[in-house]
């Protein structure tokens, strides 16, 4: 997106069937107006991207202690079952150990 090399026409690039095609929008007031609208859209998309990234980071921070708690609880459950004389077969069912 931008003005052509002479600064007379505002153009947009878009992909059609895998090829980049340049679309001539117009010059003068029309070109300026469309350029501003495109800039606003770009800003909006960038803000949305930033918000989404922040939310993902927030969620990751929120979930981190629970990941640790899950590991500890699993370890404790495994220990309790081993202490009760059970063994786990190939990460599957727990069975009472013979003998």
């Amino acid at each position: 997106m931008g003005w052509d090399k002479n600064g007379r026409y505002y153009t947009r690039s878009k992909r059609v069937n895998g090829r980049v095609v340049r679309e001539y929008v117009g010059g003068g007031r029309v070109g300026e107006l469309v350029a501003r609208m495109d800039a606003i859209k770009r800003d909006k998309r960038e803000t949305e991207r930033q918000c989404a990234r922040l939310e993902r980071e927030e969620v990751a921070e929120l979930d981190a202690p629970l990941v640790e708690l899950n590991e500890l609880a699993d370890l404790l459950a495994r220990a309790a079952l081993l202490a009760a004389g059970y063994v786990q077969h190939n990460r599957g069912a727990w069975r009472k150990k013979r003998g």
């Binding site: 989404a52 500890l72 370890l75 404790l76 220990a79 309790a80 202490a83 009760a84």
Partner: protein, 183 residues
């Protein structure tokens, strides 16, 4: 009986490492590790080192995330968590069961957070909606796995006394009350 002393981070790490090593030895067939695990689980404060502070950290941050600045709603969520914890714990939970119950409650709260965030993201991009959907799926899976583990430990790891009375087999769990009319 709850452990009154809160373990330090160093004690928690040491207990974690010790139990991990013992569990690994038992997994690979070392018979001598099993009595040591039993001894570890009966040691006062050892189980308390697992998850107490972490669970509290999860409850505080998740409740804050769900309720925001609405303190009334935050209190409602707290009450709901207390009820859930009481229902799952029963009358006489073992220290191991207590940790597993805390985990189930924390996972339940995480499911609520994931569903709330997904419901609120009405004008999200496809990528962000996909992120919410995947988080919902993952939290649900973890919650179900936590419930399953609690049920498994309750079913298998409880010491059971087997009594044969008049050719009828009666299994009595350690914390169950034996009916007077049996036999």
């Amino acid at each position: 009986m709850a452990d009154t002393k809160t373990p330090t981070a160093k004690e928690t790490r040491a207990a974690h490492t010790e139990l991990t090593n013992l569990a690994e030895r038992a997994r690979t067939g070392d018979e001598t590790a099993v009595p040591l695990i039993r001894e570890f689980l009966q040691r006062p404060g050892a189980v308390g080192a697992f998850g107490g502070d972490l669970a509290e950290q999860v409850f505080v941050s998740m409740t804050k995330s769900i309720a925001g600045k609405n303190l009334g709603f935050r209190e409602d969520v707290r009450c709901k968590l207390d009820r859930l914890r009481a229902e799952l714990s029963g009358d006489n939970p073992t220290p191991v069961e207590r940790v597993l119950v805390e985990r189930v409650v924390a996972c339940w709260l995480q499911v609520q957070d994931a569903e709330l965030r997904a419901a609120q993201a009405t004008d999200a991009s496809i990528k962000q909606a996909d992120f919410h959907q995947r988080r919902m799926d993952a939290t649900n899976r973890r919650f179900l796995a936590a419930v399953k583990t609690l049920a498994l430990v309750r079913k298998l790891a409880v010491p059971v006394l087997q009594v044969n009375i008049a050719k009828k087999q009666v299994n009595v769990a350690a914390n169950a009350v034996v009916p007077a009319t049996v036999g």
